[in-house]
């Protein structure tokens, strides 16, 4: 039975798009560009997992980076210290992240709204502190925990294989996209969307809001951890900044910029954010900003400055982000044709 035809129509489109990108990948022959896009796809995937919380369940978490870092450190640690291969290390990382998500989620979900945001922020900060101060010898005394090359297949190593990393990221994005799509279409996913609107209403239907929110929190965390594992392979290390609040805030920026609760909005936001960050930095080194006076040129040379300004404008004037703007355009266009 096809009850919501328009809801499904874009899925094959997205799959075809992904297929097209993979086919044309060899054309993108520049390893630097491939690396940029590999990172961009990973952040798009991460933004999707964040959208599951923020967009689909209405949970404003400031601690999502914790799970990304937990996945990355879990896998990198298991490989470096215990000399595990990538597959068991991944499984370990996912269980590790699940445990953390269960504990932090069950605690943080005792409060709501803004207080929840603060508590998740605090938990992530605790994780960040552990990584930064290298408590318990997490990273062999180095700032970053390097990927142990012997633990991953050879075709993921070296500059010559950047194309494989690009594909790995793309596949990761596709997996996360399908997972999020599936979850939001499931019975439980519908309860999340109901919770986003009215929690009391859900509770008088006989559904415990806490349990459903915890499920969303843990699943989003585990998926973020999976992205973290892939990030270790793509970027060759796990580092403290993965777990910083800055990471979560950039996820927030991506999702809001792209458009909340639309799935592909998060993807566009993620890719755009990463590509723009890199591109704006290049712009600066090429001297494009030298004509500006120092007081404005200084901040302008920071990509975060421009992205932050765009973000504020989007929140104030275009609540639906890029997806929302396109939707309004489509509505306008569609009605004028008819």
């Amino acid at each position: 039975m096809n009850l919501l035809p328009s809801k499904y129509r874009f899925v094959p489109v997205v799959l075809m798009l992904l297929a097209a990108v993979s086919v044309f990948t060899p054309v993108v022959d520049d390893p630097g560009l491939q690396q940029t896009f590999a990172v961009a796809f990973l952040f798009a995937a991460l933004a999707l997992t964040y959208d599951l919380l923020l967009g689909f369940t209405g949970l404003l978490s400031f601690g999502h980076s914790l799970f990304y870092a937990a996945g990355a450190y879990g896998a990198a640690y298991a490989m470096a210290r215990w000399e595990w291969q990538i597959i068991p290390a991944t499984i370990f990382a996912l269980f590790f992240a699940t445990a953390i998500a269960l504990f932090t989620g069950a605690t943080a979900l005792r409060v709501k709204g803004i207080a929840f945001a603060m508590v998740t922020l605090a938990f992530a900060e605790a994780g960040h502190v552990i990584a930064t101060l290298n408590l318990w010898g997490l990273s062999n005394g180095d700032i970053t925990l390097q990927l142990r090359p012997e633990s991953v297949p050879e075709f993921f190593l070296g500059v010559n294989n950047t194309r494989n990393l690009f594909l790995l990221s793309l596949i990761t994005l596709a997996i996360i996209y399908l997972a999020v799509w599936w979850l939001t279409q499931s019975s439980v996913g519908r309860v999340w969307q109901a919770l986003r609107e009215n929690e009391e209403r859900v509770s008088v239907l006989g559904l415990r809001p806490f349990s459903f929110k915890l499920i969303a929190f843990v699943l989003a965390g585990v998926m973020a951890a999976f992205v973290g594992v892939v990030a270790v392979i793509v970027t060759n290390n796990a580092n403290p900044s993965m777990g910083s609040t800055g990471t979560t805030i950039s996820l927030l920026l991506m999702v809001i910029l792209g458009g909340i609760a639309t799935r592909w909005g998060a993807v566009i936001g993620g890719v755009l954010y990463v590509v723009l960050s890199q591109r704006l930095t290049t712009l600066n080194t090429e001297g494009a900003l030298s004509s500006f006076p120092e007081w404005i040129g200084g901040p302008m040379s920071e990509p975060a400055f421009i992205l932050g300004v765009i973000f504020i404008l989007v929140v104030m004037f275009s609540p639906g982000g890029i997806a929302g703007a396109l939707y309004r355009l489509k509505m306008k266009f569609g009605s004028s044709v008819k």
Binding site: M1, S187, G189, V191, N198, E200, V204, L205, G206, L207
Partner: protein, 252 residues
């Protein structure tokens, strides 16, 4: 507790910072009846509903669903034991389609059927039940409309479809007619009447429209300043002098 009471409260009280919102209310709703609760604004009617459905913790008193003491249970657990309610200000899930609003209620009532592995629209029994409830309130042709796009009257119908699909034995309706246009009142009245007549539900309703309550309810309870003045058949209530001075005398 008498065995034929579907829902009963005894000495139910709610105080917020010294202000007595609900004070010492004892009430029995007999299985299968429709009990109307009336009273002026601020009489504590909606607060009474919030206490019974568990959205507010009680200050004092007990709540029983049948013989089951539910005073300290969560709203969700009360609902899964067969207590359903609607809200005064329409609170349907505006971004979800009409059918989805009702389907969620139906699936929730089917106990433990929520699955993360199953697509929401592939669970036929819940859909069948939801379609049935929508047909009963006359919303079948609007099932794919986002609930937020419904007219006010249709939202009120949807609220009733939701409690209908949720299998609640005891249905609490919080001002179902609020904001309805005059010509829509008789239709909705008929739908509410069918809740007890055709579906065997026990109905507890708060309503402002006096003639609706007097026409629908088997018994009427009058609240004033948080207290229960009287609970009797409509004729007795209308003639009661304290009620007349407290409520009818002013608003009629």
């Amino acid at each position: 507790m008498t065995s034929n009471a579907a829902l009963s409260v005894s000495d139910l009280s709610l105080a917020i910072g010294g202000a007595k919102i609900v004070e010492g209310v004892s009430l029995e709703v007999i299985a299968g009846e429709t009990l109307g609760v009336i009273g002026p604004n601020g009489a504590g009617k909606t607060s009474l509903f919030n206490l019974i459905s568990g959205l507010r913790p009680v200050t004092r008193g007990k709540i029983y669903l049948g013989d089951d003491d539910i005073t300290n249970e969560s709203p969700a657990s009360r609902a899964s034991k067969g207590l359903g309610r609607t809200f005064q200000t329409s609170s349907v899930f505006t971004l979800l389609p009409v059918l989805e609003n009702v389907r969620l209620a139906a699936e929730a009532a089917m106990g433990g059927s929520m699955r993360i592995t199953r697509r929401a629209y592939s669970f036929k029994p819940a859909i069948a039940k939801a379609e049935e409830a929508l047909a009963a309130v006359g919303l079948a042709d609007k099932r794919f409309t986002p609930a937020g796009a419904l007219s006010h009257g249709d939202k009120r119908r949807l609220e009733i479809a939701i409690v209908l699909a949720s299998d609640a034995k005891v249905v609490m309706l919080d001002e179902p007619m609020a904001g309805m246009s005059v010509e829509n009142v008789p239709v909705l009245t008929e739908i509410i009447r069918s809740l007890s007549r055709d579906y065997g539900r026990t109905v507890l309703m708060v309503e402002h429209h006096m003639h609706v309550v007097l026409g629908l309810a088997d018994r009427v309870a009058v609240m004033h300043q948080g207290e229960l003045l009287i609970c009797a058949d409509p004729q007795t209530v209308v003639k009661d002098p304290t009620v007349q001075s407290a409520y009818l005398g002013k608003s009629l």
